[in-house]
Symmetry: C2
Subunit: 166 residues, 2 copies
């Protein structure tokens, strides 16, 4: 069951998004965010993979059958792109945008056609830059989960963030 | 200057690709591979970002001007997708495909329109599974570099690999 967001860590959350962008000052360890849902079709798996990851297990149900995945699976880069789209459009409204400095990805299970994906994010660390006081880094852990609670992607990202302009 | 591949670690390399797929048994620490080139246009940056990472600095030269990037920059997920395409089509011909278990990404500089991207990969570790002798993991470090030698993406990936069928 996907957790539904309501109010986390004192920040008002509305359908997976907050009412205004968040500056470094607004973000605290433990804050959580939940995105809207993205529904994945077989056609879109094949379309993405044809351009970016043309391997048999991503290109068709038939060509995928006798592979490690035993059936059509989305490219990990497709799951990553969907995750980013969900965060940017509904998940984590950081002021000045989501700018990743470094990222760790893991794929516990393959993403499949019919998956309805949602992203749950939790802030794990907030650090202000010593050399540039107007900037800082947010470390966020997030999971991309389908409608059955299966985790398709686990991400840990270090994101650039900016202090509220004075 | 991009390094051009010729012969690395005893494996014959031909224009960034080997003549036949590599099984776990064929891959050794220190083996290096170089991909073909992918040329990136402003239009393709905007097209990718419109779907997967719709933020001002990825959507147009004008909307990008006053942002952190000071001009149009590709989504990191676009650079990652290009990197995968280069590895799959010309870079690292692992038998049964490139299947990432976990991945670390870093973006030292933003990818820009006009970049001609190439991937250089080096095998850092090869481990055979103890529980499943027919399988193993390859740890590969690779850089996505443009025509001026600027590193756009640094990747460390743990890839599933299969022993040659007996």
């Amino acid at each position: 069951m996907p957790r539904l967001s309501s109010a986390y860590g004192g920040i008002e959350v509305r359908k997976g998004s907050v009412t205004s962008p968040l500056w470094l000052d607004d973000i605290q360890v433990g804050n959580q965010f939940t995105s809207d849902v993205y529904e994945l079709t077989a056609d879109s798996i094949i379309e993405f993979a044809s351009e970016w990851d043309p391997q048999p297990f991503h290109l068709g149900e038939e060509s995928a059958r006798d592979t490690f995945f035993g059936g059509l699976a989305a490219s990990g880069w497709h799951t990553a792109a969907i995750t980013m789209r969900l965060l940017v459009t509904s998940g984590f409204p950081v002021a000045n945008g989501l700018i990743g400095a470094s990222i760790e990805l893991a794929y516990p299970t393959p993403t499949r056609p019919g998956d309805k994906l949602r992203v749950h994010l939790e802030v794990k660390d907030v650090t202000r830059s010593k050399s540039r006081p107007g900037r800082g880094y947010i470390t966020a852990a997030y999971e991309t989960v389908n409608q059955h609670g299966e985790v398709r992607q686990r991400t840990m990202a270090r994101l650039l963030s900016f202090a509220r302009p004075s």
